[in-house]
Structures are given as C-alpha cells and as structure tokens.
C-alpha cells in the first residue's frame, strides 16, 4: 500500500460545465457531501477547463497542502492534456485522476437524484484510486544512432541512402556477393517500361560510395540482443576467396575456370563457372568462388584461377569472419522469393513452363538469351506464348493472398513479348486484372491494344503431348467456350513468398508474422512499417508482395521513423511501463512469452523503451509480481471499492481505453440514456484484466460485470482481446462453482463509434439486474 502523507490532502475539483453537468448532477450536494471528509479540499467551477478554472486549480495547489487531486468533469479524451499541463506546473504530471461525470453520467441519465448519486460513486472511486498514485518519473535512455539494414535490395538500399543522407551511420548487410536484390534481375519495369538496371545502377553505386554506409556483402545477421536504442547484432561474413581490394573484375579467372555450374542468378537459364562475377555491372564488381563447386577448395586440385589472376587476388585461405555491431535501430528488408510450383498442375518441370522472373532474364539484353525470348527446350523463338496469372496466389491450397504485382508485370511482359515477336499469338489467362495505381489502368488498356488474347478463365492443368509440346484446356467465361490452347512457351505469374532470409529474421528478431509468413507490421493501416518490437522496422517485400514504387515509399517512411527514434543521443520517456517485483517473481517465464513487444528480458528486466504499458503481463503473472505503474492492482481495486462503497449494487463495466471508452463517450455525446447502475472503469487494454480482477467486483458486492473490449483483430495491443476473453471464460467457471452464475459476467466486443451498442448492453444488463431483484 502506498503511504499517503498524513498531512497532505487530496484536491477535488468539480466542474459544472455550464449546465452540461450541473443540470443533472447536483454539484452543491456533491460538494457538501465530499467536504465532510477532512482528507479532501473540494472546489467547484463553472468551466474548470477555462483559464480561470485552471487558475483555481493552480491557486489551490499553491495555497493548500495538496499532493494529488481528482478532477470530476468531462471525458479525458477532451481535456486530459489541458489539465495535465496545468497540474505539472506544481506536481508530478501523473498525480491526479479524472472522473468523467459528463459523458458517462449527466449526459446519459435523466433522473437528477440517481445521476448525482452515480457522480458521487465515480468521484469516490477516483479519490480511492488516486490515494495509491505514486509519481511516475521520467527516464533518460542512451541511444546509439547507428542503424543496421538487413538486405540490400531496392528497399534496403533506399532506406540506407535516406538514412545516410540524414547523417546516420548505416551497416548494410547483404547475403549475396553483390547488392541490388531481385530488381537487378528484371528486364524492364512497369508502368514506365524503363530498363531496371538503368534505374537501379546509380542507386547501387551511390550506396557503395557513400561515406556513411558500410556495405557488408556475403553476410548474415546470426545473433541479436539488446534493447531499442542499443541493440547488438553479430554479423557473419562468409569467405569470398577473392581479395576485394585487389580484384579488378577483369574476368580472366572465370574464362579459365574448368568447373561449369548452373547459375543461381540466371535462374537455371545459363551456366556459369565456379569462380565468377555475379552479373554485369554488379556492385561490388568483383569475383567470388562458390566453395561447394571449386576443385581447389573441395579436392585441393586445379588452382587455375590463382595462376591466371593478374592482380594476385585469389585467396583460398579466406575464412569466415564475425563482428559485433552496436545499433539503435534495425530495418528488415530481406525481401521475397518466387514460389516453387514443382509437382503441381502447372507442369513447372517442363523446360518451356517458366516463371515471370525467368522471362525477365530473357528480356534483359545482358541476360542468358541476350534479350531474346526463346523456348528453353529447343532454343527456338515461340510462335505462341501464354501468360497464366495467379499461379499459387489467391489459392487456398498454396497462398491465400494476391501477390500484388503480377497483373502489372505480366501486362508489361506480354507487351514486351509483342514487341520482340510481332507475329506471335499471345494469350493471357486470368481471373480478373488488378491495376490500382497511378498510370496502371492506362497501362492495362495499352496492353489490350497489343492484340493480346485475354481469356477470362484459368486452365485446370498444363499437359504435354507425345512430342513434349505443351497444351491445355481452358473455359473462357466471356464466350462460354472450352478452348484448347497449344502454347510453345508458358509464363506463370508465380506467387511471391517471403524469402528464406525473411523467415530467418522473423525468428531471430522475434517478429510476429502472418499466416502468409510475411512479417506483420505493428498496425496494417496506421503503423505499416513499424513492428511490434520498438526500433525494428520492416521495409519492402519482407512485409508483403509489393511493387518497386511501394518499396521506395516504405524505405523513405522507415528512414523517417528511425530519424524520429534516433533524433538524439538520449531519449526521455515517461515510465508508464511495467515493473517487476523480483522478490515475488518465480521466473516462470509466462510474462516473457505473453509480451508482444519483447519488452521483458530473459533476466526479467523491463525494457522501458519497448514496453507499451498494455498490462497483459499483469494479467498473466500467477504471482502478482508484475505491475504497470499507471494502473496497479491497488489502484484498480481501490477504485472499485470507492465506487461500490457509495452504490454497492452496481454493474461494473471494465472498458478498454480506446474502443470501449470511446463507445461509452459516443453514447454520452449522443445522449443515449441508460440506467445509472452501470459504472465505467477504464483499463489501458482489457488484456490487463486477470481472472482475479474479474472476480473482485463480485466479492465487493457488484451485481454484474461487463468487459467491453476492442473487437478481435482490432485490439490496439495485438491480442489483449483474446487474452481477456480467455480470462472471462475462466472466471465464469469459477463464478458458476461459487453459485454466483457465470452469466453475470459478460464479454462484449465493441467498435469505437458504436455508442448505440454501448447503450443497448447497459440497458440489457440493468434489465437482468432488475429481473434478479424481483
């Protein structure tokens, strides 16, 4: 129990709000009754939020021995900040409490006597609660202003550049021997049809020469620890076997190397050598050795490259290196991969069934076919080319989601195919075409001008005849015809899936991911590049399939978020966070598991910068060892005691601070009357409520209890709603056992604007209460 200084008193300020409150709440009576308590100093004002109202508060604080106060007025959604900035001139800004006697009382009750009594209960609850308030201090946290960007595709590179140009030091880690990612493989890009490398090369060169960017290729992040503002990452660099400072990129080694291997970069469309430069004009443009293929490294034979290298750059003794870097923030930009459609009805095993990215390689002048579209099986130019959309996307058997960019890149590829083979028959089998974006629909119209047969329907399977020629049947919904199509080359718009690196980082950095395995952002709408872990952001296709333009937008957005987080060497935060009493803690690990924000360390320390103060850990802890400073058990229970001591036979409505509280406010603003039995008790998130919190009001005489939550999926703290729902189910069983009946505890999901629903549930509960009384 917090000790209240016996000499100091509690200030209680009652607002008339003109007649908004005073019309239904007898302020005089309230003041008179409260004034009987010698602990309190009670004042009232016509408009407490006005300058003279604030002066009344300030003068009282100045002249009286008050160390905490209660303001009974409107909803904190309105004037919390006004009163806070007033109070903090004299006191710690958290040493007060607000009782909402307008939206939750005078505006929803017509009987003055009942409204006045309820107001008394609410104010008394706030007084009881504020007695347990302790000053919430600020904490200064040191910030490392370096940034780690994982993945040097277009999203990662652009993020690194944006940050480097803002004078942040950036470690840019790339798994491959060269930067640039998937975009380097593209022939042309929609909707401008410009050459991909022409747009990307300048960015790659800028990245490699930027003084603030430390580009680390052939590397992965293998270990990760720390807290927001001060993370430590271990970077493992695989050997290149070529000295980057000596290699001039002449290519003589590749020419002489006797080992031919299938080129990963060319997606199996071309062979390369065991020592090679990844691709034309790559960055850095230096050779590297595939250790598994090299004769010298596997069998200690050959050694030709070493002999021919004019720069003496080959180093067979190159070793794996690790280094630790300290950073303040991390960007995950680990990208996507193409889904593997082998062993499906798409007959992807057939050499002439290729995916969009493989066609991109063919389109590229520097690619495996020198810019010609050819059937891989025989090297001949196809007479018929068919594009098949949604291959593995929008498919409950594979990936439920739409891969976002396939309509547009297939449109582009079909157009380019038309330009490269003017006489070809070109078909496109599709479900519908999705072209929402600047200049996209116009682009789709351009496609149709290119004499492409658009077939509204997807083939069931791709077959081959005795000669290995491809054909398939497709039902065209436009003509109601079953068509047989013989096609020399089939290009699948293959689903985009998270890359292996994306999956690894999800695990290593403890990031949440969706059913689709892509990294889930903190909020899909209003925090699209943040993750649940403070200081870790996601950019580009690690989050979802998206276009180059969207990757760039993400990158700029992430850079801006990081610039805010790392704006100075220190950061000051309010400790409205959790704290652990290690004497009570049994180290059961439940809180660590429950926390969605990685805010509790293995050593049971709270990471104040990561904690969002939702209180889920409080409800999970079996020992009561963890508390959130802004709503301790003592505070919550005293508030309920305070309310019930005035009106014992009440209905306690626990409401979530966002949806539930707002809905109650809207009911007030809309003057939707409901019985005064209902007393609202605010919690930051219903996930804060443990089984004991749900049972407590019953122990103290409350007749019914409601938990009014944000709906599932709309919880502002990810899964507080589900947590509370489980607690409610458990509490119901206990109530049943005690003979109280679990039916008296009700869980209600509600959306913010649904004042009418709030009114309805209050009326229903009150009706049940009357039924019980009879």
């Amino acid at each position: 129990m917090a000790k209240v200084n016996k000499n100091s008193k509690i200030g209680v300020f009652l607002c008339h709000c003109g007649d908004n409150i005073a019309d239904k709440v007898n302020i005089e009576k309230l003041k008179k009754d409260l004034s009987k308590n010698k602990e309190l100093i009670v004042k009232d004002h016509l408009f407490l939020c006005s300058e003279s109202g604030q002066n009344l508060i300030l003068n009282t604080l100045e002249n009286e021995n008050i160390d905490r106060l209660v303001i009974a007025s409107c909803s904190p959604k309105h004037h919390w900040n006004i009163f806070k900035s007033c109070i903090q001139q004299k006191l710690n800004p958290f040493m007060w409490e607000m009782a909402n006697i307008r939206e939750h009382c005078s505006w929803v009750h017509s009987d003055k006597e009942k409204a006045t009594k309820k107001a008394m209960a609410l104010v008394n609850g706030a007084i009881a609660k504020v007695k347990h308030h302790k000053p919430i201090e600020k904490k200064e946290i040191s910030i490392n202003r370096d940034v780690l960007v994982i993945g040097a595709g277009i999203a990662g590179m652009h993020t690194a550049l944006e940050l480097a140009n803002k004078d942040f030091h950036v470690y840019l880690v790339e798994k491959s021997p060269a930067i640039g990612g998937n975009m380097t493989k593209l022939g042309r890009t929609f909707p401008t049809d410009d050459c991909s490398m022409c747009t990307e090369s300048p960015i790659m060169n800028e990245v490699s020469s930027h003084p603030n960017i430390e580009m680390i290729t052939l590397s992965e992040v293998v270990d990760f620890s720390g807290r927001p503002g001060e993370y430590i990452a271990t970077i493992k660099t695989n050997p290149r076997y070529v000295d980057p400072n000596k290699c001039t990129g002449c290519g003589l080694c590749t020419e002489k190397c006797p080992v031919s291997i299938s080129s990963d970069y060319e997606l199996g469309l071309k062979n390369t050598k065991a020592i090679h430069i990844p691709f034309d004009s790559c960055v850095p443009e230096i050779a590297f050795i595939e250790p598994d293929a090299c004769l010298k490294l596997t069998k200690n034979k050959c050694g030709l490259c070493e002999k021919v290298c004019p720069a003496d750059a080959i180093n067979y003794d190159d070793k794996t290196q690790t280094k630790k870097v300290k950073i303040g923030a991390v960007v995950v930009a680990t990208g996507f991969k193409q889904m593997n459609l082998s062993n499906t009805e798409y007959n992807f095993e057939h050499p002439d069934v290729i995916n969009g990215l493989q066609l991109e390689r063919m389109i590229t002048p520097a690619g495996p076919t020198k810019g010609k579209i050819l059937c891989p099986s025989n090297g001949k130019e196809p007479e018929t080319v068919t594009f098949i959309q949604c291959a593995g996307s929008r498919d409950q058997r594979h990936n439920e989601y739409c891969s976002n960019i396939c309509c547009m890149y297939s449109a582009k590829n079909a157009k380019i195919t038309r330009a490269k083979i003017p006489d070809a028959d070109i078909n496109m089998c599709y479900i519908d075409i999705r072209a929402p974006g600047r200049r996209y629909e116009e682009y789709y119209r351009l496609l149709r001008k290119n004499n492409i047969k658009m077939i509204m329907g997807k083939p069931s399977e791709i077959m081959e005849d005795a000669n290995g020629k491809l054909h398939f049947d497709v039902f065209d919904k436009s003509t109601n015809k079953l068509l047989q199509i013989n096609s020399d080359l089939i290009v699948l718009a293959t689903a985009l899936e998270p890359s292996d690196g994306t999956k690894k980082m999800t695990e290593l950095l403890n990031l949440p991911y969706g059913l689709d395995n892509f990294i889930s952002p903190l909020h899909v709408k209003i925090a699209p590049v943040d993750t649940t872990v403070e200081g870790i952001y996601v950019a580009g296709t690690a989050e979802a399939p998206k276009s180059i333009q969207d990757c760039i937008t993400d990158a700029s957005s992430v850079a801006s978020r990081i610039a805010t987080l790392l704006k100075s060497d220190t950061s000051v935060i309010d400790l409205t966070t959790a704290e652990i009493n290690l004497d009570k803690c049994t180290e059961c690990g439940k809180c660590i598991e429950a926390c969605n924000y990685s805010a509790i360390t293995k050593n049971y320390e709270i990471v104040d910068m990561a904690c969002r103060g939702c209180g889920k850990c409080v409800s999970i802890c079996p020992e009561g060892a963890i508390q959130i400073r802004q709503l301790t058990n003592d505070q919550l229970r005293s508030q309920i005691d305070g309310i019930l001591s005035i009106e014992p036979e009440s209905i306690i409505a626990y409401v979530s601070e966002t949806c539930g509280y707002n809905a109650a406010d809207i009911a007030g603003v809309s003057r939707l009357n409901y019985p005064s039995d209902v007393k609202i008790v605010k919690v930051p998130c219903v996930g804060r409520l443990g089984v004991n919190d749900l049972l407590y009001p019953f122990e103290k005489g409350a007749k019914r209890v409601m938990v009014v939550a944000c709906p599932e999926g709309l919880c502002h703290y990810i899964d507080g709603t589900e947590t509370a729902e489980k607690a409610v189910e458990e509490a119901k069983k206990i109530l049943d056992k005690k003979g109280i009946s679990g039916e008296k505890l009700r869980f209600v999901p509600i959306v913010s604007p649904d004042g009418p629903k709030f009114q309805k549930i209050c009326q229903e509960e009150a009706e049940k209460l009357r039924g019980e009384e009879k």
């Binding site: 001949k380 028959d425 075409i433 290119n450 658009m454 436009s478 015809k481 068509l483 047989q484 013989n486």
Partner: protein, 178 residues
C-alpha cells in the same frame, strides 16, 4: 509448330484474317480494336434485345476477339439487335458492339446468307409502311411514360399509295446494293 487455339465444342479455329478485316472496318468508322473490350458486360446489362431475345453483346464481342467470326455469322443472335445504340453510348471503353454486329450482318447479306424469319418480317414492314413497327410507349429511368403525343411529336404518317411506296423503297434498297 503450334496450332494455336481450338474451340473444343465444335473443333473450330479462330479466323485471324476475318478478325483483321473486322478491325479494319471498325477503324473506318473510328472504333478501336475489339481487343480493348475488357468484358465488363455493361452492354449486355442494358441491351434491349437481351431482355426479350437473350442477345449478349459482350459475348459476341468476346467471340469476335477470339476470332470465332464464322460462328457469329451462322447464329441468328446478331439479328436480334434493334440498333438502339445504347451499348456504344454507355461503353466505358468506347467499344461498339452494335457497329461490330452491323459489319458482320453486312457480311452475311453479301455472302447471300438466308436471313432469319423475324428479320424478314421486319424488312417487309419497312417495305409496306416505312417503319420496322408501330411506335410503342417508352419509360425513362424515373419510370415516366412517354409516347409521341406526350413528347409533342406529330402522328406517324402512312403511305397513301401502298403499291407505289413499296416500289420506291425497293428501288432505293437495290440502289444501296449496287
């Protein structure tokens, strides 16, 4: 090498040349290639002939796009079009199913194809009265009823000398074919 597309219902194949001709004739009257049609089926939604006779202009467009033009010529469907021009007026892609069907109808006539009975009766009406049918009442989208009288139009005139009228109209029609 490949045989392209086959309609498995009747084993017919697209006629690429005829489709090119169609594109060409449409371009003369300023209509772009039917390829541009994206099959929203708005034309069919509003088609007057659809309600009575199940004409599906979007489907005709799609068959034409795929090059199945002989099939369109063989079916009686296109003769159901009453030529109200609603399809071209409402088409979001500025296509014209009605003009496409007129072009194909002209091809039918040139090739000496027997016209459907109903259509011949229609022609007979023109020969005898100058009209396809007697004018009907119509409704606008606010369900107001309109006829020639409420629109302030004069009564329909009928030929005074039936025989002479038919002769002149026949001569005019033949003129057009010369």
């Amino acid at each position: 090498m490949s045989e392209g597309i086959v309609d498995l219902f009747n084993m017919s194949k697209p006629e690429k040349k005829k489709y090119k001709d169609l594109e060409k004739e449409l371009s003369i009257i300023g209509i772009e290639s039917p390829n541009i049609c994206y099959q929203c089926s708005k034309c069919t939604s509003g088609c007057e002939a659809m309600k009575l006779l199940e004409l599906e202009p979007h489907s005709i467009m799609a068959s034409a796009k795929d090059g199945f033009i002989e099939e369109i010529m063989q079916s009686d469907e296109i003769w159901d079009c009453v030529g109200c021009y609603k399809c071209i007026e409402r088409c979001p892609q500025k296509m014209s199913p009605v003009d496409l069907m007129y072009i194909i109808k002209n091809w039918c006539v040139s090739s000496g194809k027997q016209l459907p009975g109903d259509y011949q009766r229609l022609l007979q009406n023109i020969l005898s009265t100058g009209y396809t049918q007697n004018p009907l009442d119509v409704h606008d989208k606010k369900n107001n009823n309109w006829n020639r009288k409420t629109l302030g139009l004069p009564d329909i005139k009928t030929p005074k000398d039936q025989q002479k009228f038919t002769q002149i109209v026949s001569e005019l029609a033949m003129e057009g074919l010369k």
